[in-house]
Amino acid sequence: MSKTHVTTKVNGDEVEFLCDPRETLLDVLRDRLHLTGAKEGCGTGDCGACSVTVDGRLVCSCLMLGVEAEGKEIGTVEGIAEGETLHPLQQKFIEYAALQCGICTPGILVATKALLEKNPDPTESEVRYWLAGNLCRCTGYDKIIRAVMDTAAEMREAS
């Protein structure tokens, strides 16, 4: 099977890789680029643990091929913090204990960051609908929603 050469940007850095056209973007991120933040929960687009942004648009990286990343800008959870400084969402998730096992957390951070960039003042319902495709089997969601609402409020005050 011949491999395809792909040039893309991940978290602002230009990267190149060779991949089989059947490999998903998630496979490429984890196995070729060693960015293991995005997780494979279901592999069928139902759980959101593999959420990344592609040209700013939230997608499941398990439902996109690596070859489709050519010329795109990919954003993963690894690009959310600035060096040692956590993103406000990451700080609030710790403060609120909005995670237990942590498998869903990278996807939820990427998803909620995308939401707050689009809508800095979401209602609780809007947050819940936005996150309908991010499954968490530990928290019961309540702490996650509270962490997101509080982050949004704090980021609005800071801006």
Partner: protein, 288 residues
Amino acid sequence: MKYYKPATFEEAVALVAGAEGVTRILAGGTDVLVQMRSDIITPDTLIDIKAIPGTHEITRTKDGGWRLGVAVTGAEMSEHPELGRDWPGVVEAMDLIGSTQVQGRATPVGNLCNGSPAADSVPAMIAAGAAVTVTGPEGSREIPVEQIPVGPGKTSLAKGEIITALTLPPRGAQGGDAYLRFIPRTEMDIAVVGCAVNLRLNGDVITEARMVLGAVAPTAVVVHAAADALVGRTLDEDALTALSDLAEASCNPIDDKRGTIKFRTHTAGVLARRAAKIAYSRAKGATA
């Protein structure tokens, strides 16, 4: 599997026509990639049409309708400032599919070509009178959306043919459409029943009516008799009862874990009433 990213539809058609074995078109991939992963299909040839110019565009046609490129996503439709004012039912039907993540990739043309009887956008597109441009080695033709699905997972497209555009007709004055579906929870599920209604009024009197049901038969069902039941009258209780009865009579559903025949049939009638009321109020100028 060979992966191609043609730059034109001519190139894409030549690839499809010349390919051997299993060929799939890749737009949003939200069905194709799931099917590949679960070994339902193993394409020998995968043709990514997203590099073809125009496939991401939503444009007004000269006659006042809309042309949607075949890679236009649900999110792009929902975010468009004018499309949803003309065709709120089509936009809300597409928006019901999957999560935020899925909306970022899924396309109405993919929803159509996947051939699911429960596809949410399909009844709404048919009710709206949408058409697709089908291009093959012999050239292009425009055909109504309702002629594409022929059974679960099956379309009328011949070998070498692909869909190259989706068009919605001009909305015109005093028109309104709506789509409702039943699922046992709030989000992230597949329609147990879906119902689209598209009306045009003259004052309070209905002058045009189209109703289409989803998930109650092997393909979306156009309830042609809905026009006879509604045209020339207002949407009063008798009209709603007639419409609900017609919806129930048009069902030919399966019994499965998501709904029984009896439940699906009853629900089709309920959704017909509710969708008609929404379409009627939109035709009278309501924006919700």
